[in-house]
Every structure is written in structure tokens, then in C-alpha cells.
């Protein structure tokens, strides 16, 4: 017989008091000259970017082949491509069943060297902008989610 203290637990369920944000619906006054979004067109944030690789056999820098570009793009898709949520059931400690929904909710962080040698780092949650940032979209200018490019 144990001499340890008797223990008993009481689970107290307390209601949550939630303060929900009051949503103001006033719209933003526009500054003079601030226009509605322009028709989307090619970004001129930066020129199309060449993808340079160091050849594994020769050690020399060269343009990436189409196959290499395709492989890089496929990996971006693997990391960031979204899909529907998928149910996953588990039994909880109290014996009840729980369903959560799995999926790809990753954000990817990418880096590239600029013309002046500095490194730009950007974070992306969809494959398209990420691939464009790395120059993997033929003919697409490379966007720059940065404070300001050099030119």
C-alpha cells in the first residue's frame, strides 16, 4: 500500500471569453494620384535572370540546361505546391476521435545574388512567384520582394 498522498483531479471547464475585433469598414482614402491597380503586365522590377550553374564535371560556370531548369522548377513545386486538405483521424488520450487535415502549407525562403554582389532573400508561399524569383520561368522577369533593388 502506497503512502503517497491521495490525489484526485477535477477538470473544470470554463467558458472562453473572447474579445472579437470590431471590424471597421471604412475604406482607405487615396492619396492624390494613387490609381486603381493597373492592368497586370510584365513586371519591370528586374530584367529576366539567367540561371548559372557550376558544371559538376568541369567546375566551370555555364548556363543551366533546359533539363536542369525543369528539375529546379519541379522541386519548387514539390516544396510549395498547394493542394486540398486531406483528412487524418487519430484517437485522443481521452478515447475520443479527432480529425485534422493535412496538406502542404509550407513557405519557401529563397536567395539570389544581385549584380552588386549582395544577397536578396525572399519568402514565398506559391510556386509561381518563387520560380520567377529564381529565373526559372522562361521570359519572365524576376520579381524582387525586397526593400529596393539597385537599378
Amino acid at each position: 500500500m502506497s503512502n503517497s498522498p491521495n490525489r484526485f483531479r477535477i477538470v473544470a471547464v470554463m467558458a472562453c471569453a473572447l474579445a472579437l475585433a470590431v471590424v471597421a469598414t471604412a475604406t482607405e482614402p487615396k492619396t492624390p494620384g494613387a490609381q486603381p491597380p493597373d492592368t497586370p503586365q510584365a513586371s519591370a522590377q528586374a530584367a529576366p535572370r539567367a540561371v548559372i550553374v557550376r558544371d559538376a564535371q568541369t567546375g566551370m560556370l555555364r548556363l543551366a540546361t533546359a533539363q536542369e531548369l525543369q528539375s529546379m522548377a519541379a522541386e519548387i513545386d514539390r516544396l510549395l505546391a498547394r493542394g486540398p486538405a486531406t483528412p487524418k483521424q487519430s484517437r485522443l488520450a481521452d478515447g475520443s476521435m479527432s480529425t485534422v487535415y493535412t496538406g502542404n502549407f509550407d513557405h519557401g525562403v529563397l536567395a539570389r545574388r544581385t549584380a552588386d554582389g549582395t544577397i536578396e532573400i525572399g519568402c514565398f508561399d506559391e510556386p509561381g512567384p518563387a520560380k520567377a524569383f529564381l529565373g526559372l520561368v522562361p521570359g519572365s522577369p524576376a520579381p524582387a520582394p525586397v526593400k529596393g533593388e539597385g537599378r
Binding site: N3, T27, Q35, C123, A144
Partner: protein, 481 residues
């Protein structure tokens, strides 16, 4: 045998409640999923660096993960352990760019116990916290994958990871800053709604199908054009898409993050135009990384379009001809760097430079990058549409200054701006603060070099989405012999 007195029981009750609602802490566990000799287990010797005491590359990597977990864990509040499965992998690289890594939640849930919003997706770590139980006991909560080859000759050579904790990364990449940012997404700074389609996340394969639902984050995203939140069922998918490219038109409505912004953000930079034309007023501007910062009352002068005599004449890429000294130099973007334009304007006697963007976009415009310590005049960028309007209404006076009536990274209504550039391709929209924020914030899309490993406005956004709301606690009464 004795029992605790009612008074003592009451004290325990009160203490338990306080601990659950105010004290706050969470345990974040890093699960090393690397095989032997790789990643976290890399035995390559390394000298301790910047406060990181690890003596192998693998130890230092794990120490940075644990440091990030410690920072987030100390700030958050959860009784449920947050498990992060982490690996180092050979991710995409080339000589001048790389995928540094990725991180995010592994699952989401809705309508669990204590969920503040019904029919709303919550990332699993927050869902667990609110439900006060692990809703996915067989799964981890977040996944983190980072590039094991960074800095090698074939992978952004010379720009590898910096594993110190002190922010002295130099030419390397501050891994702690990157990790804090990416973990921020996995913990809640993210929408599950597509910014490119506006479609809410759903599960059409479930029986019965789970309909499209907004995320907790969407309950605080305000479309300034429609006046509707992203979580509003009357906000259409096309309206969400449109709001994601409106620049200053997508804002955060959470009271805590907005209050943080009001208390901490700098006065906003602006160009004020005054004259006889239709261009009079205050404009959003992007500031320069070179030259003096804008101030109040700032620099006021007549504006004049630059002419360098070489087509295109107004890009100021060569010495200006006939420019009137003492004026603000209006130049077009393109052909050469911003510092070259500024140097040519300065040499011609300009007292400031206004760069007109050369592609369509929405305010606030990006800044001007570059370095040149010889530049002594302030410089800004305006959008193409704003610049075109201004040029069409010269002569006019311009004032480059800061204004206390609006704060950097916020709109005039005191709401934090979310990153919503046009076109959407310009970056990772919506799930970041706008890049016009000053001082720089952890959750901007660019991970800026001056971040100091603090959680700034992000923690307040987390307060808005529910990380600190009171939840039921399990109380223990002790019977003492």
C-alpha cells in the same frame, strides 16, 4: 492526513488561471530527422561562433533551431508541446541563387473545442493550443527543411549559413533570422486561402465534403476596396484576388498588431506636390538605402525632369544638361543604377531625386537600393502612374519629407499594411507585412539584414488570431497527508 484548506485550494485555482492566461510559455521540440553524418549529425568540426557554442556543424545547426524554438517558446502560450520535424536536404541551387529552405504547418483543423471562430481553418499548433489537447497525437505540428549545401561551390558559393546568434553574419545568411521568420509562418502568420485564386481551403474528397472555409488569419484581412474581410462569405474569390494586388488596399484589422504599429512604426516618407495642376497632394514613396533619410520639414524645391541628352533622355544615366540647380531632379527608372542617377542629379546641383517607376504598379512603391557614400541628396521612388501624373502637371513644387499623419507600413487609418504588390508575381503576397514598414519587421517578405531576432509586430498579430485568449485549464487539487 491533512487536506489543503479551502483558502489554499482557492489560491491554487487562482494561480492556475493566471498561469494559463498571462504568464505564457510553450514548449517547442525540434525533432532531428536526419540520418547519421548528415545535417544535424554532420560531425565536421566548427569553431563556436556568435554565441553558438557548438563544436561541429551539426551541433551548431541544432543549436540555432533550439535558439529559435526558445525565442518562440518563451513568447507563446500553450500547454501542448509543439513538435517540429526538421531535416537538412540538398535543395535547388545554382551558382547565384538557392532555395534556402521551407517551413510550415503540417496540418490544420476547424471547429475543435474552444475554436474562437467556427467554420475556420486553424494551423495545428494554434488549434492544439486553443483545444488544450494534441488534436493530432500521431503527427508532428510543423516541418522545416533547409539547404545542406548552401555556400558550397555549386550552391550560392561564398554565401553559406551563419550559425551565430549575434546578427554578425557579414556576407553569410543569418540562419536564426530566416528560421524565426519561417517558424512564424508555421505557427500562424499565414493564410490557407490562395492569393492567386482567392479560393478558400476545402476538402472535396471527404465524406461529406468539407466546404471551402477561411483561415483564422482571413478574419483580420480587410479588403479596402469592398470593405469586407477575407473571411466574409460575400467577398468573392475575384475580389480577394483583386485585393491582393491593391498595395495599400489590404490591411490588418487586428487591434493588437495595429496598436503595435501605431506605437512603434516610424513617420511615413512622402512626396508632397503643390502647384496649379491636378497633381497636388501627398504621395507614397519608396525610400533609398543611400543618401540622407527623409526628415521633417524635409527638402522643398521646384521639380524638373532630368535631361542627359542621351536617349532615353530622362533616365539620368549620364551627366545632365541644362538642369537648374536647386531643384528636385525627376528621373525615369532604367538603364543604370539608382546611385548613378543620384550622382548625376547631385552633380547637376539637384537637392533631391524622384525616380519614376517604369512598370505599372500600386503604391507604396519599393525603395531604391544601392550604396554610395558620396550621395548627399535624398532620393525616393514613386509609382509609374503617380510619376506620370506629376510630370504632366509641372511646373510644381515638391517636398520630400516625413509625415506624422501616417506611419511607415501603415495606412492613414492606422492599420498595418499587408504585402499586396501588383502584379501578384512580385512576391509572396498576403502572408507578410508590407515592405514599406520601418523599422523593418520579421515577417516582411524580404528577410532584411537589420533584423535583430525579435518578434516585433508578429507577436501582436498572434495575439489577434488567438494565441493568448484564455482557454479552459485543468486544475489539480492536492490532498496532502
Amino acid at each position: 492526513m491533512t487536506r489543503t484548506t479551502p483558502r489554499l485550494v482557492l489560491a491554487i485555482l487562482v494561480m492556475a488561471l493566471v498561469a494559463a492566461t498571462a504568464q505564457g510559455a510553450a514548449t517547442i521540440v525540434i525533432i532531428n530527422n536526419d540520418p547519421a553524418g548528415v545535417g544535424f549529425n554532420d560531425p565536421t568540426p566548427a569553431a563556436p561562433v556568435g554565441g553558438n557554442p557548438g563544436t561541429t556543424i551539426g551541433q551548431q545547426r541544432l543549436n540555432v533551431f533550439n535558439q529559435a524554438a526558445s525565442i518562440w517558446g518563451a513568447a507563446l502560450d500553450s500547454t501542448v508541446t509543439i513538435n517540429v520535424q526538421a531535416t537538412w536536404e540538398a535543395l535547388t541551387c545554382d551558382a547565384s541563387s538557392a532555395v534556402l529552405g521551407s517551413c510550415g504547418a503540417l496540418a490544420v483543423d476547424f471547429d475543435f473545442a474552444n475554436a474562437p471562430f467556427t467554420s475556420t481553418w486553424y494551423l495545428i499548433a494554434l488549434a492544439n493550443r486553443l483545444a488544450t489537447t494534441d488534436l493530432d497525437p500521431t503527427g508532428n505540428d510543423m516541418r522545416a527543411r533547409f539547404n545542406v549545401n548552401l555556400g558550397s561551390p555549386t550552391c550560392l558559393a561564398g554565401s553559406g549559413w551563419y550559425y551565430g546568434f549575434d546578427g554578425n553574419e557579414g556576407a553569410l545568411i543569418d540562419f536564426l533570422a530566416v528560421l524565426l521568420h519561417e517558424m512564424g509562418h508555421g505557427l500562424g502568420f499565414a493564410t490557407t486561402t490562395s492569393g492567386t485564386s482567392g479560393v478558400w481551403l476545402s476538402d472535396p474528397t471527404a465524406i461529406p465534403p468539407i466546404p471551402p472555409m477561411p483561415s483564422a488569419y482571413d478574419h483580420f484581412l480587410l479588403d479596402g476596396t469592398t470593405g469586407l474581410l477575407w473571411s466574409d462569405p460575400t467577398e468573392t474569390n475575384p475580389q480577394r484576388v483583386a485585393s491582393a494586388i491593391t498595395g495599400v488596399g489590404l490591411t490588418w484589422t487586428g487591434a493588437n498588431a495595429d496598436a503595435y504599429g501605431v506605437a512603434n512604426m516610424d513617420d511615413a516618407p512622402q512626396l508632397v506636390v503643390s502647384g496649379d495642376g491636378a497633381a497636388n497632394g501627398s504621395y507614397y514613396v519608396g525610400t533609398a538605402s543611400f543618401g540622407p533619410p527623409l526628415s521633417s520639414p524635409g527638402v522643398t524645391a521646384m521639380m524638373e525632369v532630368a535631361n542627359d541628352g542621351t536617349a532615353p533622355n530622362s533616365d539620368a544615366c549620364t551627366a545632365l544638361t541644362g538642369f537648374t540647380a536647386g531643384r528636385l531632379c525627376v528621373v525615369d527608372r532604367g538603364t543604370c543604377t539608382f546611385v548613378i542617377k543620384a550622382a548625376n542629379c547631385q552633380t547637376a546641383g539637384a537637392v533631391g531625386m524622384i525616380v519614376v517607376e517604369n512598370a505599372a504598379g500600386v503604391p507604396p512603391p519599393a525603395g531604391l537600393g544601392g550604396t554610395d557614400p558620396s550621395i548627399t541628396i535624398p532620393a525616393v521612388r514613386v509609382t509609374l502612374s503617380d510619376g506620370t501624373l506629376i510630370k504632366a502637371n509641372l511646373p510644381a513644387t515638391g517636398n520630400l519629407s516625413t509625415t506624422a499623419t501616417r506611419l511607415a507600413g501603415m495606412n492613414v487609418s492606422g492599420r498595418m499594411l499587408m504585402y499586396a504588390p501588383s502584379p501578384y508575381q512580385s512576391g509572396s503576397s498576403v502572408s507578410h507585412w508590407d515592405t514599406s514598414a520601418s523599422p523593418n519587421l520579421l515577417m516582411e517578405p524580404a528577410i532584411n539584414a537589420d533584423l535583430n531576432h525579435t518578434l516585433d509586430a508578429t507577436l501582436e498579430l498572434f495575439r489577434d488570431i488567438g494565441w493568448f485568449v484564455p482557454v479552459p485549464v485543468e486544475l489539480m487539487f492536492l490532498e496532502i497527508e
